[in-house]
Symmetry: C2
Subunit: 339 residues, 2 copies
């Protein structure tokens, strides 16, 4: 029989405060405790990679959104990849890789609900499930093609284009034969977009005048806007949107950290130019995942799509790391190596 | 041979200025001149009813929208119903009723392009083509049912609900089995909505606190918002919109007369609640007109739909009358009796 002394230690961040502004360590509680053990019908999972996403901020709000608001004392919600350490569940065996809302913790016990077994895909490392597939890949593919309906020759603008979703979206748009312009927060990111990912143009929104540069780079107007940020970028696009343009409302990161007011001089164009604006969350559309993943894996293996994973070591650094999504300091899909 | 003396006099308003704020007589030129005569293949039309619509203001802007911006000296664009006085065109004969973009004038000559012959419908007066059918009826029917997809039991909010489009929209929503709340600019209009048209509730946005009253009257949130006004009403709705809600962006009258800034604290809900917002112009969807008119005529003859036409006498009063759309002084579909 295993003694208490031998049982592994669990590490976790539990949720403490709804707050505004950047995420603070104080919004969470760091807990070290005995790891749980798998009971009848359960599996014990050790998390390996934790995904950090802008939507983490949405979940930390006071109100329920597409998921319930977090409650004080609850483990912080997070998508993660883990390995099964012990299983009393017929569907899983030790060594299996699984993905799901496994939370900001090292160990957890699950009854199998919501757990997705990850296949081994030749040529793809484990991190590809966060950089290329999973919620990132499905969001980019579904948003651009099912909502945006991007067609050859059209002009597509992507904001937060060097981010995980944005960089995939822009590359998919290039594969569709579109002219693709991205916005990002540094010259280095802009160079990455045009020189590495094949974007037709990139705008550093921190140093360049966005409305003027967008107008220069989109001489035939904008047909599809894949919006990750909202705010002033959305308004600048509304000025240039073409008749029957589509705005894929994927995120409004500019509004997540503050009680932000959107101001627009061009909302009326939604009516006069017959614009579609559609919010979405990829979790609502799992039926599109198989086709999306098949395309993305094929395109990646053919060398048409690149992705970057930005790995932070150690669960204890998750809280400071998540803010890199809002300052723009991350380079590609942000994940924490938990163990 | 007819002498010049006998030829009828034409009256017309030509366009002069792009301007901001309310429409002024000075934005137009009043012209009295000899009426034109029909040449080979042409028809001479005498306008009888001229439709005044919020979109007149859109056409008067500096930029092309879904139609080209008006040019100085051009007859003011307007939808009208007229009678054929003389015809050298095989498709029309004297006495035929026709509808089209006939302009703010008493007489005009047409080659037949864009002219729609109006059928005589038993039980419906000529004005029904503006109050119930035509662009008003198609806009309400298409917007609510094709874009809004209003379903029984859902909550529908309509702004400018006592206006021509709004009052039809609300009544169609009632026929669909929806809970219907309207906003309007006077207590009398609100009484009209609830007591005459069967709305479940009405809010006087000038005297009542809109966000609070909307919340009271929409205890299960808002599923469909038929937006004729934009601005603060749109933002209040965005706060209460349900998951998968639909915003039918029909008009933004609040933005037409000024270089208006839309400010919103709730745009992020478009993403998190997966909201559809779709701008449209009924001219793009003529294929839906036959079904829409069939429904509207049947519902009207069954007593389920009422409409009001607010008739202003005399083309010379068109410019002052059109502002009643923006002050809210009109009672139902605003038309000018031209002759």
């Amino acid at each position: 029989m295993q003694s208490e002394q031998d049982q592994p230690k669990n590490l976790k961040w539990t949720f403490r405060n709804h707050s505004v502004g950047m995420i603070a360590e104080n919004d969470f509680q760091w807990v070290e405790e005995k790891a749980p053990d798998a009971g009848a019908g359960e599996v014990l999972i050790r998390n390996v990679y934790l995904s950090l996403d802008p939507t983490n901020r949405v979940w930390m709000g006071e109100k329920d959104t597409y998921m319930p608001a977090l409650k004080r004392g609850e483990v912080m919600r997070g998508l993660a990849i883990g390995v099964v350490e012990k299983s009393n569940h017929p569907g899983f065996k030790p060594g299996d890789w699984v993905q799901g809302l496994l939370g900001w913790q090292k160990y957890l016990v699950s009854n199998g609900e919501g757990l997705i077994a990850l296949p081994q895909i030749a040529g793809l490392p484990l991190e590809a499930h966060f950089g290329l597939l999973g919620h990132i890949g499905l969001t980019a593919h579904y948003g651009l093609l099912q909502i945006g309906k991007a067609k050859p020759g059209e002009t597509v603008v992507v904001s937060a284009a060097a981010g995980a979703v944005g960089s995939l979206t822009g590359q998919i748009a290039k594969i569709q034969g579109c002219r693709v312009i991205g916005t990002a927060g540094s010259d280095e990111k802009c160079r990455y977009l045009t020189q590495e990912l094949g974007f037709d143009g990139a705008i550093n929104y921190r140093t360049e005048p966005l409305p003027e540069r967008l107008r220069e780079l989109c001489p035939r107007g904008i047909d599809v806007y894949f919006d990750n940020v909202g705010g002033a970028t959305l308004d600048a696009v509304l000025d240039l949107i073409n008749d029957f343009g589509r705005i894929v409302a994927c995120g409004m990161i500019s509004a997540y950290n503050q009680d932000d007011v959107f101001t627009s001089r061009h909302m009326v164009n939604i009516v006069t130019r017959r614009v579609l604006m559609q919010g979405f969350v990829c979790l609502d559309h799992p039926e599109f995942a198989p086709q999306a993943y098949q395309d993305l894996i094929r395109w990646h293996l053919e060398g048409k799509i690149k992705y970057r994973v930005d790995v932070v070591e150690g669960l204890e650094n998750a809280v400071t790391a998540v803010n890199r999504l809002f300052t723009g300091a991350n380079q590609g899909k942000l994940v924490v190596k938990v163990s």
